[in-house]
Symmetry: C2
Subunit: 473 residues, 2 copies
């Protein structure tokens, strides 16, 4: 006999598959009005964009653990204080420090020429004067891993794998695996060094740096990225016969370098112990000025929080802006935050992080409790005029707040169009001029809107469905 | 009383204003058929593109006077011989040699940071360790020239003038004036060094090098180009207060370095002493691999000449391909050629040079005698299906053949669309991947077509009108 499935069980099945609710939760009319006015104000926001311009001009690059990152913390504390935020402070921690001193990659034979290359973060140094060896090319990390030691020993490995440009940045994952794994796999087989085709999506001689594996790169060899055109050049040379390359990477390393998270708040009222966390990261790679990665994210969350702070009345919950330190080199700020605030993560009612440039937000992704999904629908309905469509309920959060999401903190990921993000990130080209002001302000509008609603409604984004009643049997 | 103007005088007036003829000259049917078949074959040409690929891969950059330029000559002689050209040879000459050894430009205060910069060709070296001084910004070279010494003395000059992207490259002229004049004007007023906004049209941190004045830079100070985003950064910093910059440029110079023109021919038949010269330059700047500037030009003229060489019958006149040496640093190859061949310039019936990348040709410009203009019309009519429209009769020729044009040699300038040429030229980004094969082959088709017609018809492109008869009075 046919047995109808219970409504609650059906909902569970749907939501586990990542679908968001079909129905919206009702929203107080005043809150809706204020939200729409925040969105309108964001369209001419000056604070967020100026934050990026000033940070990238008056500080410039902000390599984790460097003097410049320290300067960025001081600058941010002064700026956030000047903007009138509450509880502006630094939560300090220490990290291992790595910096390039010099890098040179060149073809020795058959056609002597320089290649445009950049050392990967955490790369070992070569002996002074570099290492010289024959290049062995692989199409992928997997191919290197499968190669016999005899084929690799004493050579310079070259992994020539392209990065695919996608709107959601998903092509980056494969690139990161290659970037993370090459030095370890190469030196395990006796290679002198590893070169990878830069993890990037543009045709310029502008290689992308980036961290190697946080774990597993210890003791691995030197590693550098060559630009796309240089990877093509190496490949063309290899079709003509053996190629000898020289790799010379000199680095500076320190233990216990200072870093820290910069925190600022818009203190709430009757629910001020409950926190809406808006994150970004303050550190950048050393080649550009970190405008897209992640000056943009900081400008977005600071701009959004400032709009909320300027409302005639503060919302009920506290908006906490966290400018994480040392994200690029291993999410050290994320770990430090979770350690420092681990005893009240239950008070973190919602978290979001902007770390994917300044492209327009096109979908509203969440990771909410199942009964809270109508709230996502309500918010997304309000954002629809900004071009924000429905997302799924499988949001990752972001690199720094992933640890919070894994601890059960509900997260929002406003999905940006990042089709050109990997044209710039981790290169010298990550500069202020690459930010489109209108697209940037659309981001500010989205963050201001959902953060305000979350702060003012008191909604519980962890909410789970009531247990199914036996009556449905 | 009204006096009608003579027909010949009218024609003279029209032509002096640069207009081309309205009527075409008749063309032998066999020649037309062969021309159309050359155009068809060019559409799948492999020789020209392979020439660029091999040259830029197997040699790479070819700085004038360097070992690499010498290698490029050897490579070209071997390649052109292999391709079956006649009379393959090098006409050697010597040049002063300049090369960068190192360059570093950085902001010392208020916000210490590196700027992406490249020394200009011929720049003086700084003392070891560089020079450090306050930046003074000018909107243009003229503004610097008008400034009092007291304002400039002891400072580092920065000329922040943009380059305008145009199809015909005319925006480059202003940029070159700034590049040529800055060091001289700056050091005349006691400046420590000169920085210019890079002469380029792209938004990347990819500064363009290029020669300073061939005359007048002697004894002038150090000079470098900063990329567009770095120029913006300097300007933003200057709006905030005084900016101190350090400029460290180290160079290598030699007198009497070897260079040379590589020459190859398709020997004609009954008119073999009459020469159709097709030129390009073999040297390049040192940052890229000189694919667009001017590997492309060499590929175009070699590809076109090779198509003609493969015809069942050789055309009547000789096609001479000249790969000029040391163009970038002061047109030394052009001067050497004119000196070596000055006694038979009258035998040069036509010259053309390709040195503006590989963008599609859109107009057919000439500098012909007035009575020869119907020939231009005939040729352009045949090229119209390739998208080549009528040009004027004021063609400049090209950098290396300008000296021939000024000596009365008729020239053709197939005008390319160079709207993005100054995105790449003189930068690391001038690499093989930037060449569009189809656009490149359209160039080969155009060169093959007009060179063949000129060689086979025996037309006199110097032809002047018969003196006007007194009867027209």
């Amino acid at each position: 006999m046919f047995k109808p499935i219970g409504a609650a069980l059906l909902a569970t099945a749907m939501l586990a598959s990542g679908a968001q609710a079909q129905t919206a939760a009702p929203l107080d009319e005043d809150i809706e009005t204020t939200t729409l006015s925040l969105i309108e104000q964001a369209k001419s926001d000056a604070v967020g964009l100026k934050f990026i311009e000033d940070l990238t001009t008056e500080v410039g690059q902000r390599l984790a653990g460097s003097d410049e990152e320290a300067r960025a913390r001081d600058w941010s504390v002064a700026e956030l204080t000047e903007l009138g935020f509450d509880e502006v402070r630094v939560e300090a921690f220490e990290i291992p420090f790595w910096s390039r001193k010099s890098e040179a990659v060149s073809v020795v034979s058959p056609a002597p020429q320089n290649l445009v290359a950049t050392a990967l973060g955490g790369s070992a140094a070569t002996p002074a004067g570099g290492v010289t060896g024959e290049v062995i090319r692989f199409e992928s990390l997997a191919e290197l891993q499968a190669a016999p030691i005899s084929q690799v020993d004493g050579k310079i490995v070259f992994i020539d794998e392209e990065t695919i440009a996608t709107m959601d940045g998903s092509g980056y994952g494969m690139g990161v695996r290659k970037r993370s794994g090459c030095a370890r796999a190469a030196s395990d087989k006796g290679a002198l060094a590893c070169l990878i085709r830069s993890v990037g999506t543009q045709p310029h001689r502008m290689p992308h740096t980036g961290i190697m594996a946080r774990d597993g790169a210890e003791g691995a060899g030197p590693a550098a990225a060559v630009s796309g055109p240089d990877a093509d050049q190496l490949t063309r040379l290899l079709t003509r016969g053996p190629v000898i390359v020289s790799v010379d990477i000199q680095t500076e390393i320190k233990t216990n370098a200072p870093s820290g998270n910069v925190i600022a708040e818009v203190t709430g009222t009757d629910l001020k112990d409950e926190i809406i966390l808006l994150g970004c990261h303050l550190d950048s790679w050393d080649l550009g000025t970190g405008a897209l990665d992640d000056g943009a994210g900081c400008g977005i969350v600071v701009g959004a929080a400032k709009l909320i702070a300027e409302l005639p009345e503060r919302p009920r919950r506290t908006i906490r802006v966290v400018l994480y330190g040392a994200e690029e080199v291993g999410l050290f700020g994320a770990t430090a935050y979770a350690r420092a605030h681990g005893d009240h993560l239950d008070k973190h009612v919602l978290a979001a992080e902007s770390d994917f440039g300044a492209g327009p937000i096109w979908r509203f992704q969440t990771r909410f409790g199942e009964a809270a999904l109508p709230y996502a629908r309500t918010i997304q309905n309000l954002l629809m005029p900004l071009g924000v469509t429905r997302g799924d309920n499988r949001a990752f959060g972001g690199p720094d707040i992933g640890i919070l999401a894994r601890s059960g903190v509900p997260v929002v990921t406003p999905g940006q169009n990042g089709i050109d993000y990997f044209d710039y990130h981790h290169t010298p080209d990550d500069t202020f001029d690459k930010i489109d002001p209108d697209e940037f302000r659309q981001n500010v509008a989205v963050y201001a809107a959902f953060a305000y609603i979350a702060a003012e409604t008191g909604w519980d984004f962890r909410a789970q469905p009531e247990p199914a009643s036996a009556a449905t049997e």
